[in-house]
Amino acid sequence: MAPPSASPGLSGKPSMPHFKPVLYLAVLWFLLAQSALATETRNVLVLYSNNRLVPGNVAVDRGLRAAIKSSGDRPVQLFSEFLDRPEFSGPAYEATVMAYLREKYAARPPDAIVSVSDEALDFLLRNRPNLFAHVPVIHTVASKATLRSYPAMGADVVGVPLEYDFSGTIQQALRWHPAARRLVIVTGTAERDRGREAWLRREVPSIAGGVTVEYLAGLPTSAVLERLSRLGPDSVVFTPGYFRDGDGGLFNPRDAAALMAAASGAPVYGPFDPFIGTGVVGGRMPSFEEMGAQAGRIVNDIFAGATPASIQLPDVTPTKLQVDWRQVKRWGIDERDIPADTIVHYKEPTFWDKYRNIAVVTLVVILLQAALIAKLLLEQRRRRAAELAVQRQRTELAHASRLAVAGELTASIAHEINQPLGAVQTSADAADLILQSGADRRDDLLRIVTRIRRDNLRASDVIRRLRALLARHESERKPFDVTAALSDVATILAPEARQRHVRVEFEPATTSALIAGDETQIQQVLINLLLNAMDSVADMPEERRSVVVAVSRNEREIGITVRDRGHGIAPESLPKLFDSFFSTKARGMGLGLSIARTIVEAHEGRIWAENGAGEGAVFHVELPALDEAAIPERSHA
């Protein structure tokens, strides 16, 4: 569409293809380099001094694996071997192990060896020339004493020396138990056990203060336990555990410590973190896991290309105070005396600590639910109140409308009451005259008195009916016969009809027409419809001034029709007929039919209007019929 353009804005485009091959090559080279690295798997041999289930070993392994950076493109494989000391030892055993390791790892020579604990390092250093001679060795959990015995380990042997804090642990124990008068130290008979005993005997007196130090060294386990069980709260026990007891029984130190803690009548302290959980109170401990992690980091550095000698390392693995919270409680150690940086184990979290989130969520849910329920209840109450108010209003309105009807009917009602009153007056006058005349007209007087009584009844009957209609009453639901209600209405309206010269004909139902409802309100509907009908024929010639009210019943409904012979209803008025304030009359309020509908609908019925076949209008009311079998028999008036 656009003409070929020499616009400078487009001139840069052709240069793009020149860059592309360069880019592709760069990407290709990068990918190749990556895949070359990916093939380079590093093997790490981890050599443990004792057997695989010693908790310290497990912790070291956990730390190592967490620290060593292994990934898809630089995989590192860990292989673990266990010397199973002290159960297995001696030159023959070592030769076997050597041969085993050489052959086993011929195909997967290690790129680094990690020694865990003293014996493993010792084994490696002694046999290095014959076993993976130039592979760097990273030692961990190696005591300073062992390291000192190899002044020339070589530059490719590296690691952080371990120093168990026996004295720190003892000092802490004595601080926590200021009432203790006796410090009991338990050791065993293995070579390492004896080494520890020696160290302790040398160092403890300087830190024990005024406390008596007692050594249970090299005793059979049963004797140790028996002795410990007799201790009281005036004592504190320290033990590094032992590998072998006085009977030659082999242990791992943790199990020995567990036995002691279980039997002891005094708190037991130890310097190794696997002791935590055995019943030992705690101690100042290096973390085996952290030591494993430290070794792992050194392996990472070496694999990253650092020479072992160049790696910066701390002098010793720092120790930390660790305690078993259950034991703290058991021995009544003051919580305030536990330093803030202490690693506390087995501290049973409170309900709040444990379930804080769940509790908060649950609480919020419960509160919301409660609020919802409260709101619903409130809503229900409000709706009920509104319904009551509507019902009250409907009753009020119906009453007001009945009063209005009564006002409309005043003339005919007055006539209705005046008639018997007039008769009474006149009868009384007649009787009075008879009495004045002195004539003996006893029969006449009797007749007159009877008539007076009858007229009086007649007047009060009108008033009673009227009062029933006009009374402000609560809406009530009772069974009643529509035909009977209509007959009352007929009586009330008869004088009005007479005055207006309207013929009103009634066609009652052939059977009873019972409904449940408020009789007065239904009568009001009928009066309203009848007065409307009379209005509509008011200006009709004599022969059309007629209204027919019929009651019929079918299976389910009582039907009431009010038929007039007037002008009928204008089609445009039909839909609005039952609306409030709609009126076709000059002086109409437009409430009558609207109230009629409200009443009928409150009775679960319906009301509608239509024009008659030839002339006039027909109003229909349908109300649910009451099953007569469902109510007790009652006499009809």
């Binding site: 006539h415 008769a423 006149t426």
Partner: protein, 205 residues
Amino acid sequence: MTDRALIHVVDDDDSLRAALLDLLDVAGYDARGYASTGEFLLHPPPDRPGCVLLDVRMPGPSGLDLQAALQRYAVTLPVVFLTGHADVPTSVRAMKAGAVDFLEKPVARDTLLDALQRALARDAAQRLDRDAAERRSARLSTLTPREREVFDRVVAGKLNKQIADELGIGLRTVKAFRAQLMSKLGVATAAELGRLAGEPQDGSS
């Protein structure tokens, strides 16, 4: 007994009607009751002094309708209305049409009897007037046609000469007819003649 007044009570209310009949009986009147306008019309009242005590509002033709019908048929019975609800237009209409009174139910005995008394008095007066007129028209009927022609012109205030011209007769003949008819009618002066002529000339029915 024929001079005793007969009061017609037209009221659809059986009880009130009976009470009224009792009262009127005790008060010394003859009374007859009718439940409706139609019933009254079906039983023409005898020629007796009396009046009608009439309810306004009744099924079918109302009291006012009956009042109009009575006038149409020249029944001169005075009407006293008795109504349950006296509204102004109805009462005005009734009074204009010649009702004696318009009473409201319930009515005090004295008020009622007083109204009936007045109605009967009016009826009596009407009857007297009617009797005199009848007597006069009876006398007038004794005149010959020629005497009547002269009479009409005399009471019309015409002079003898004018009468003679109109009738095409002589002045003396006119004078003779005058003397003759004055003698027949029993009057002595022209003024008396005039009074006689003041009565309805077709007074009798």
